[in-house]
Symmetry: C2
């Protein structure tokens, strides 16, 4: 018998929605687009910070900025089907993803995604 | 009685040379000049790397480069009088310091500095 992780995309656990082939294609495109946009932002900001370096503290500020962004991106962009509704919910909340990019996903997934986005909105508004 | 570290610049331990007021001024100037030049190099290189970023791996290469340089600089530029002959020896060996910048130090210190530079030269030639 294979390990649970090898099975996770095929035999979802309780409460985990199944992702059809076409949904997987939509998810991958949306995920990659958001990640690409976020990386583009970081690249622009890094170039700007580098061009403005005047002293050593600016240099280490740039290092710190890059370390923080790398960690945040690693944490945020988790392409596991068990995590994707949370991932997309966060990206919607952060306006890094437009809901239209998720068109074609089943309604139950869109509901979970919107619901998590709203939860995060309430969290930051509080 | 004060702690040993509070005394280290005033009452050197065995085998540690004393540094006169004028020698301390020379050492500080030489140290700061070498550090300034090394930081300037890192700033130039960081700017160049940032301007050439094409993809995320280039971004994390820049982060890695900065982290490595920061650690190396922290390790190398140790302004304790007990460490200075080794620090200057290394900087001479790396051609980050010209011997003329140390003019005015006592001959015993210059000997230790040159001797450590030669030791490192032999080490890298081996």
């Amino acid at each position: 018998m294979s390990s649970p992780s090898a099975n996770q995309n095929t035999y979802p656990y309780q409460n985990e929605p199944t992702w059809s082939k076409s949904e997987k294609a939509i998810a991958r495109t949306a995920f990659d687009a958001a990640l690409g946009r976020e990386l583009h932002e970081v690249i622009q900001r890094a170039r700007q910070m580098a061009s403005e370096i005047q002293q050593s503290s600016d240099l280490w500020d740039l290092e710190h900025y890059l370390t923080e962004r790398r960690r945040e991106i690693d944490r945020k962009y988790d392409y596991r089907y068990s995590q994707l509704t949370h991932v997309f919910g966060r990206l919607l909340h952060e306006k890094r993803l437009h809901e239209e990019e998720l068109r074609g996903l089943q309604e139950d997934k869109l509901k979970s995604i919107r619901s998590f986005a709203q939860f995060l909105a309430g969290d930051t508004a509080a």
